[in-house]
Symmetry: C2
Subunit: 184 residues, 2 copies
DNA sequence: TCACAATCTATCCATATGGATAGTTTGTCA
DNA sequence: TGACAAACTATCCATATGGATAGATTGTGA
């Protein structure tokens, strides 16, 4: 059950609640009342702070990026295996955050308002992957792209199927593959 | 505008309409009325044929698998590059079918009723990838897994961002990577 | 302390929804 | 041709929703 936020923390609670509700129940069940219930506030506060459901979601995507920056070492990804295993751990400890991001990626397809925000999210992960590869002397954009796609696919499948070990094994296999290109 | 289906085709129209509505507007907008409107029938027919929204979705996933089997050469995937490029083409010509599948994958996470159906879908794609790799003499499950994850990631990004060329480039890079393992 | 703005709640309202119900239409078979 | 079941429509109903509105609460600064 949600504890009621302190006075003035309502807005922030609604943003975090939006991420949780979407991850747990899908975008379908994100209503003014469901998110307010989760945040422990009145549903009219959604309209007050955000004016619309879409604006709430924009704020939630920004928040997800913030939390991702805290969570996975996007800024200091280390080498490929460290980066990949950090992703697996992040998904295992915060599956909802990642599920939310995938939900919003699909939604961005349908609603242009979300596109810049979702692209910023994607770019953060892509950059981290490029950085990780560069640590191994790989500077080929095509290699970075396929490595990122592989990690994206592994993470999506971990979110959907819940097998962290699959991601870890997959990261190892990716590292072995890339080892052929240059010493990884 | 939907043309009304012939008498007796209502059920099938609703199933195909469900895929279209979900892909275009998300699971959130899949209501009895929206899907019926799309199918050109009365909304009461959803309850009549399916009893519930979830049952309609189960039928829709089955239908998606069927259409995927028709669409992409799942049974005869050829080599890796042929399989990968076929996927890119399939996404480009039928983005909605693939978007629907990703939506349902995320939904399966929240609703166990969909899990077996979504896993069957995933397994079809995974098998095709294994088959494609085997054509090149690669029989390592870990390699198959990372190749499938990479394709999954490429396809997801193509659905989300719409760049078919990215998928094609990515497939080429994947083939180059795997060429190091054995001649691809 | 008081005034004010921001935050918040409770409630009302119009509309949309899932689903039930009664009736109509269609196709099949004897 | 008529009976019957399946398919289908139109309509009603109870409930949920987004959003507006009025009032209450809180914090800040003079």
């Amino acid at each position: 059950m949600p504890t009621e936020p302190s006075y003035g923390e309502g807005r922030q609670s609604l943003v975090d609640a939006a991420i949780a509700v979407v991850a747990e129940s899908g975008l379908r069940n994100l209503t003014y009342r469901s998110v307010a219930r989760r945040a422990g506030v009145s549903h009219a506060l959604v309209a007050h702070h955000f004016g619309s459901r879409d604006s709430l979601l924009v704020a939630a995507v920004e928040r997800a990026l913030e939390r991702s920056l805290d969570e996975a070492p996007l800024e200091d990804s280390g080498g490929l295996e460290r980066w990949g295993q950090a992703l697996a751990r992040s998904v295992a400890t915060h599956p909802d955050l990642h599920a939310f991001q995938f939900e919003m990626a699909l939604e961005a397809r349908r609603n242009p308002e979300f596109q810049p925000h979702v692209e910023r999210l994607y770019e953060a992960y892509r950059s981290a992957t490029r950085r990780a590869l560069r640590r191994h002397g790989i500077d080929d954009p095509a290699m970075a792209q396929i490595a990122f796609a592989a990690l994206d696919g592994l993470v999506f499948q971990q979110v959907v199927l819940g097998h962290e070990s699959w991601t870890r094994d997959g990261v190892r296999a990716l590292r072995r593959l890339l080892a052929h290109v240059v010493g990884v």
